[in-house]
C-alpha cells in the first residue's frame, strides 16, 4: 500500500475551510498549509485545489477578493464567510464521528459471527 492517500473531494473542501479558518489566504498558501500539516501524506494535485476554491466561493462558504501579496503582486485572497465557518464546524464534527467509527471498527477484537435473523 502506497504511503500517500488519494484525498476525497469532500475532504479537500473541509481542509480548505480549515486552512482559511486562521484568516484570509491565497490559493498558494492554502496549498502550502495543507502540504505542511498533512506532512505530505495526502496526495493532492495542486491544480485541483483551485476548482475546489472557486466552487466553495460559488456556494458562498468562502469569498474571494483581489489584493496585494507580500511581494506586492496582485493575488486572489479567499476568506471564510459566516456560512463557511458553520459548515466547517458541522463538517469537522461529522468527519470526527466518521473517523472514530471507522477506527473503532478496525480495532475491534475478534470477528463475531453474524447473527441469524
Amino acid at each position: 500500500m502506497s504511503e500517500k492517500v488519494d484525498v476525497l473531494r469532500g475532504t479537500l473542501d473541509l481542509l480548505i475551510l480549515k486552512a482559511l479558518s486562521w484568516g484570509p489566504a491565497h490559493g498558494y498558501s492554502v496549498a502550502e498549509w495543507i502540504e505542511r500539516v498533512t506532512e505530505d501524506t495526502l496526495q493532492i494535485e495542486e491544480g485541483s485545489l483551485y476548482p475546489a476554491l472557486h466552487r466553495l466561493d460559488e456556494r458562498g462558504l468562502i469569498e474571494a477578493e483581489w489584493g496585494l501579496s507580500g511581494n506586492n503582486r496582485r493575488a486572489k485572497y479567499y476568506a471564510l464567510t459566516v456560512a463557511g465557518r458553520q459548515a466547517l464546524k458541522a463538517e469537522s464534527a461529522t468527519w470526527s464521528r466518521y473517523a472514530k467509527a471507522v477506527f473503532a471498527a478496525l480495532s475491534a477484537p475478534a470477528a463475531l459471527k453474524p447473527a441469524r435473523a
Binding site: 491565497h26 498558494y28 494535485e45 495542486e46 491544480g47 483551485y50 472557486h54 503582486r73 496582485r74 493575488a75
Partner: protein, 891 residues
C-alpha cells in the same frame, strides 16, 4: 523570471464586469510563480524549478479550462439573477406606487380597457370575417364564378336552357380549375324521424363538396351519377341533425321524408361543417335542373358557383378565360350578364363577406381612433403623474440612481398599467362579443363565428405592449431629463421643463379633441341617416299586420289547382275571423332576407334584343287580399281578382317605378309585355304604390302576377286586423291548422318586427359608432380638464401675483377659460378638417345624408365644445379664488 505585467488598460475593462479568463490566468500564474520561487530558494536551477512547479500542479491546461468554464457559468448566472432581481424590484416598486395612487391608476387602466376592449371586440369580428381563412384546405384557391348558369330542362328529352355559359362548360375547361360545384340554400319539411321539422337544405352539385375539400365523417359522398335527373333520391346530413334527430345511430343508409318524398341518407358530414349558411341537409343539385329541383325554393333559386383554381392558375387567368367563354356567345345572351361580366371571378371569402366589408372596416377604423384617443389620454395622465413625481425623481437622481434605472422603473409602471388595461379590455371584449356577432353576415356566422381565441389574446397583449412602451417611454424620458439641480431648488412645477411639458400636454389634448370630433361627426351622420330611415315611408302600413309561411306538401302540393284551392281556403277562413279586416297571400314579403327573383321585361312595341338595354322587374305573385292587408294603395286601374286564374287571359299589376321605367310618359294600363322573350303577352291592368324591399333601398320595378294563376308551394299568408300582435299571429296559425291540421307553419312574425329586424345591422353599426363617439368625448373631456387644471397649478404663483396686483376674480377665470377654449377650438377645427377628409369613407354607410352634412357636423362640434368649456370651468373657479397670501406663503 518575472511575470508578464498586466497591461494597464485591462483594468479599465473591468468596468464592464470581471474578465474571467484573465482572472483565472492571473491566479494560476501567481501560484506557479510562488512555487517556482520556492524551488529556486531550495537551490534548483530556474528551468528545473519551473518544470517542477508545473509538474506538481498537475494538468495545467485541464485545470485552467475547467476553471474558466466554471467561472463564466457563474458570471452569467449572477448577471441574470441580478437582472431578474432588478426587474422584480421595479415591478414591486411600480405596484406599490400605483396602489398608493389608486385613483390615477384606475383612470389609466379604465381608459386603456375601453380602448383595448373596443378594438379587440371589433377586431374579433373583422378577424372572423375578413382575416381568418375559410376552414377548407387551401382556401385561397376557392373562387366564386359569377355569370355561370346551371342548365335547366322541363322534361327528359327536351331542350335545355339557358344558352349561356353553364357549369358544364366550366367543368370541361380542364387545367384551369381543379374542381367546380354549385349550391343553393332552400328549406324542406323533414319527417319520418319523429316530429316534422323545417330544415335548411343545401342543394349542391355532386362536385361541390369535393371542390371545397370536405368528405363525410362516415357514410359516403354523392356518386357523380346521382347528380343527373331521374336518379334515386339521396341526402347527406349534418353531424348536429344526426345527433338530434337520429340519436347518433350510425346505421346507414336510412330513409327520411323531405316534403313527403323519400330520400336515402347515405352519409353524415363532420361536426362544424354546415356550409353554406348553417344547413342541416344536403341533397344533389342535378345538372340539368328539372322542375323538381325547385321543391326546396320559393319559386326562385339563387345559385352560387364555386370553383377551385388549379395550383398553377391565377385569378386573372380565370377571369380572362371566363370572358373568352362568354365572348363566343351571341351578344343578346351576354346582355343579361353584362354587370356580372365586369368581375366574373371573385375570391370566395370576399364574396361571402359581401357588402358587410365596408361597415366592418369603418368600425375597425373607429375603434382604432378610440384606441388612439385612449393612448393619448393615458400618456397625458402619465405626464401629469410624472410632473407630480418630478421632485422625487430628481432626489433619486442626485442620490445616484442612473437614468436608465429610473426610466426602467417608470416603464415598469406603465407596463403594469397596460397589462391591467389589456386584462380589462379582454374582459370587456368577451362581454360584448355577442353584440358584435350581429355585425357578421349570416352566411359567415357558422363558417367563422367570432370568438376570443389565442390570436386575439396575442393581439390584446401586443396592443398593450405597444401602448405601454409607447405611452410610457415618452413621459419617462421627459421626466428623467429633468435637470435635477433645478428641480430640487425650485420645488418642481416651474421653469423650462414644466413649460415644455405643458405645451406637450396641450398638443396631446388637441389631438384627442380632434380625434373625438371625427368620431362624433361619424356618429352624428349615422344617427341622422337612421332617423331619416325610420321616417321613410316603406310604401305600406306595417302596423297591425302579421304574416307566416306555409309549405304545402302532400296531396295539396300535387297540382297548381290544388295549391290555389288550399291558399284560397286559408284566406277565406281568415276573413271569417272576427277582428281580421283583410287577408291574402304572396310569394315574398318585403323587409325579409329572402331570395328575390327578377324577370326580364320586353314591352310590346319597345326595342328589345340586340343593342337595347335589357330591363328587369322583381317578380311577385300576390292575391288581391295581399294589397289590402299590407295597405298598399292602388293608384290606377284594378287589382287581380279570383277569376284571374290559369285559364284567364294573362294580366299583371305593376308598381309606379316600373311604370316610369318601362313606359315613361305613357299610360301603362292596357300595355302588354313578355318575359324574357318567351310565353304569351301579359296585359297591365293596374298600378300600385312603390314598396321598399329594404328600408335603405330605393324601390325597384315590381310586377305582381295573380297568385291564383300560379301558386308556389311555399307561400306567405298575411292578415291585417284590430288584434294585438300575438293574438293576430294566433288567429293566423289557427286558420291554417283548421284548413289542414298537418300543415307546418314557420317564420310567423308581425311586420313591424320584420321591419325592425331588417334594420338591425344598421342599428348595431350606428349604436356602436355612437357609443365610440361618446366614449371618445368622455376621454377628451378628462384630457381637457386635466390639462387646464394642471396649468392652473403651474400658474398658481402667477395668478397669485396678478390677484395681489388687483386682478379681479373674473379676470383670472377668463385667463384660464381662454386657455381651455383655445385648446378646444383648435382641436375641433382640426377634427372638422379630419372629418371632411374621411367623409368619402363613410359615404357607403349613410342614407339620405351627405357625408359633409352641416347639421351633423355642427351638432358634433357643439356636443364636444360645450362640455369642453364646462370642463375648464372647474379649474377656472379654482384660479379665480387664488389667494395671494396663500401663494406667497407656499413659496
Amino acid at each position: 523570471m518575472g511575470a508578464p505585467k498586466e497591461p494597464l488598460w485591462r483594468r479599465y475593462l473591468r468596468f464592464f464586469g470581471p474578465d474571467v479568463e484573465a482572472d483565472v490566468d492571473e491566479e494560476l500564474r501567481f501560484h506557479l510563480d510562488m512555487k517556482e520561487r520556492d524551488y529556486l530558494a531550495r537551490g534548483l536551477s530556474p528551468e528545473e524549478a519551473r518544470a517542477e512547479a508545473i509538474r506538481k500542479f498537475g494538468d495545467l491546461d485541464r485545470h485552467r479550462r475547467q476553471l474558466r468554464r466554471q467561472d463564466s457559468r457563474r458570471l452569467r448566472r449572477d448577471r441574470w439573477s441580478e437582472r431578474v432581481d432588478g426587474w422584480g424590484q421595479d415591478l414591486r416598486f411600480a405596484l406599490r406606487t400605483l396602489w398608493r395612487q389608486r385613483g390615477f391608476s384606475l383612470a389609466v387602466i379604465a381608459t386603456l380597457s375601453l380602448g383595448i376592449g373596443a378594438t379587440t371586440a371589433i377586431f374579433s369580428a373583422v378577424d372572423a370575417a375578413l382575416l381568418r381563412p375559410l376552414p377548407f384546405p387551401h382556401p385561397a384557391e376557392l373562387v366564386e364564378l359569377r355569370a355561370i348558369e346551371v342548365p335547366f330542362r322541363e322534361e327528359a328529352g327536351q331542350e335545355e336552357h339557358p344558352s349561356g355559359v353553364t357549369i358544364r362548360d366550366v367543368g370541361a375547361l380542364g387545367g384551369l380549375f381543379s374542381g367546380v360545384g354549385a349550391y343553393a340554400v332552400g328549406g324542406l319539411n323533414l319527417s319520418g324521424t319523429g316530429n316534422p321539422i323545417r330544415t335548411r337544405v343545401g342543394v349542391v352539385t355532386t362536385g361541390l363538396l369535393p371542390t371545397l375539400g370536405v368528405r363525410p365523417a362516415f357514410g359516403r359522398h354523392f356518386h357523380p351519377e346521382e347528380g343527373t335527373p331521374g336518379q334515386a333520391a339521396v341526402a347527406l346530413i349534418s353531424h348536429g341533425l344526426w345527433r338530434r334527430q337520429f340519436g347518433g345511430d350510425s346505421a346507414l343508409p336510412r330513409s327520411i321524408l323531405l316534403n313527403g318524398l323519400t330520400y336515402q341518407v347515405v352519409g353524415v358530414m363532420p361536426p362544424e361543417f354546415t356550409f353554406p349558411e348553417r344547413v342541416d341537409l344536403w341533397i344533389p343539385l342535378t345538372v340539368p335542373m328539372t322542375p323538381e329541383t325547385f321543391e326546396p325554393f320559393r319559386g326562385a333559386i339563387l345559385k352560387t358557383v364555386v370553383a377551385r383554381l388549379a395550383p398553377s392558375a391565377t385569378l386573372d387567368a380565370a377571369r380572362d378565360r371566363m370572358r373568352l367563354l362568354w365572348g363566343k356567345l351571341p351578344a343578346e345572351a351576354r346582355d343579361e350578364y353584362r354587370a356580372l361580366l365586369a368581375d366574373p371571378v371573385r375570391p370566395l371569402q370576399g364574396s361571402l363577406v359581401g357588402n358587410r366589408r365596408g361597415p366592418m372596416l369603418i368600425l375597425l377604423g373607429a375603434t382604432g381612433l378610440l384606441l388612439l384617443i385612449a393612448c393619448v389620454n393615458a400618456t397625458n395622465l402619465l405626464l401629469a403623474h410624472a410632473a407630480t413625481r418630478e421632485r422625487e425623481l430628481a432626489v433619486r437622481a442626485v442620490l445616484g440612481a442612473s437614468r436608465g434605472r429610473l426610466v426602467r422603473q417608470l416603464l415598469a409602471q406603465s407596463l403594469v398599467l397596460s397589462v391591467a388595461g389589456a386584462m380589462g379590455g379582454l374582459a370587456l371584449a368577451a362581454g360584448t362579443l355577442r353584440a358584435v356577432q350581429g355585425l357578421l353576415p349570416k352566411e359567415m356566422l357558422d363558417i367563422a363565428s367570432p370568438h376570443l381565441d389565442l390570436r386575439l389574446l396575442v393581439f390584446a397583449i401586443g396592443l398593450a405592449g405597444i401602448t405601454g412602451i409607447g405611452f410610457g417611454l415618452w413621459p419617462a424620458l421627459g421626466a428623467t431629463r429633468t435637470d435635477a439641480h433645478g428641480a430640487m431648488k425650485s420645488g418642481g412645477g416651474h421653469g423650462a421643463t414644466a413649460a415644455r411639458r405643458g405645451r406637450l400636454r396641450r398638443t396631446l389634448v388637441t389631438t384627442e379633441l380632434a380625434l373625438a370630433l371625427m368620431l362624433l361627426a361619424g356618429a352624428g351622420l349615422m344617427l341622422k341617416s337612421f332617423v331619416i330611415l325610420l321616417d321613410t315611408n316603406p310604401g305600406f302600413e306595417p302596423e297591425r299586420v302579421a304574416a307566416l309561411q306555409v309549405v304545402l306538401d302532400g296531396s295539396r302540393a300535387l297540382s297548381n289547382a290544388n295549391r290555389v284551392a288550399a291558399v284560397n281556403a286559408i284566406a277565406e277562413r281568415l276573413r271569417g275571423v272576427p277582428g281580421i279586416e283583410a287577408a291574402g297571400a304572396v310569394n315574398d314579403l318585403p323587409m325579409t332576407d329572402q331570395v328575390r327573383m327578377s324577370i326580364r321585361v320586353d314591352a310590346e312595341g319597345k326595342p328589345s334584343g340586340e343593342g337595347a338595354e335589357p330591363k328587369f322587374a322583381r317578380w311577385l305573385m300576390a292575391s288581391e287580399g295581399y294589397f289590402r292587408a299590407l295597405g298598399i294603395p292602388l293608384i290606377r286601374g284594378r287589382l287581380m281578382r279570383e277569376t284571374d286564374d290559369s285559364l284567364a287571359p294573362k294580366i299583371a299589376v305593376i308598381n309606379q317605378t316600373m311604370a316610369k321605367i318601362i313606359w315613361p310618359g305613357e299610360d301603362p294600363i292596357g300595355k302588354r309585355f313578355k318575359s324574357g322573350g318567351r310565353g304569351e303577352f301579359r296585359t297591365v291592368v293596374g298600378i300600385v304604390r312603390d314598396v321598399r324591399e329594404r328600408m335603405d333601398q330605393r324601390p325597384d320595378p315590381h310586377t305582381y302576377f295573380p297568385i291564383g294563376e300560379f301558386t308556389p308551394q311555399d307561400v306567405t299568408i298575411v292578415a291585417r286586423g284590430a288584434l294585438a300582435g300575438p293574438d293576430l299571429l294566433a288567429a293566423l296559425r289557427l286558420a291554417v291548422r283548421e284548413t289542414d291540421p298537418t300543415q307546418a307553419v314557420y317564420n310567423a312574425r308581425t311586420l313591424t318586427d320584420a321591419m325592425s329586424r331588417s334594420l338591425a345591422p344598421r342599428r348595431s353599426t350606428t349604436l356602436l359608432i355612437t357609443a365610440f363617439g361618446l366614449l371618445a368625448l368622455l376621454l377628451a373631456l378628462v384630457g381637457v380638464y386635466g390639462v387646464v387644471s394642471y396649468t392652473v397649478t403651474l400658474r398658481q404663483r402667477e395668478l397669485g401675483i396678478r390677484a395681489a396686483l388687483g386682478a379681479s376674480r373674473n379676470n383670472l377665470a377668463r385667463l384660464v377659460l381662454t386657455e381651455g377654449a383655445t385648446v378646444a377650438l383648435l382641436g375641433i377645427a382640426i377634427g372638422l378638417m379630419g372629418a371632411f377628409g374621411l367623409s368619402r369613407v363613410l359615404r357607403g354607410l349613410l342614407y339620405g345624408v351627405e357625408p359633409t352634412d352641416p347639421t351633423a357636423l355642427f351638432a358634433a362640434a357643439a356636443v364636444l365644445l360645450i362640455p369642453a368649456i364646462l370642463a375648464t370651468l372647474i379649474p377656472a373657479r379654482r384660479a379665480a379664488s387664488a389667494d395671494p397670501v396663500e401663494v406667497m406663503r407656499s413659496e
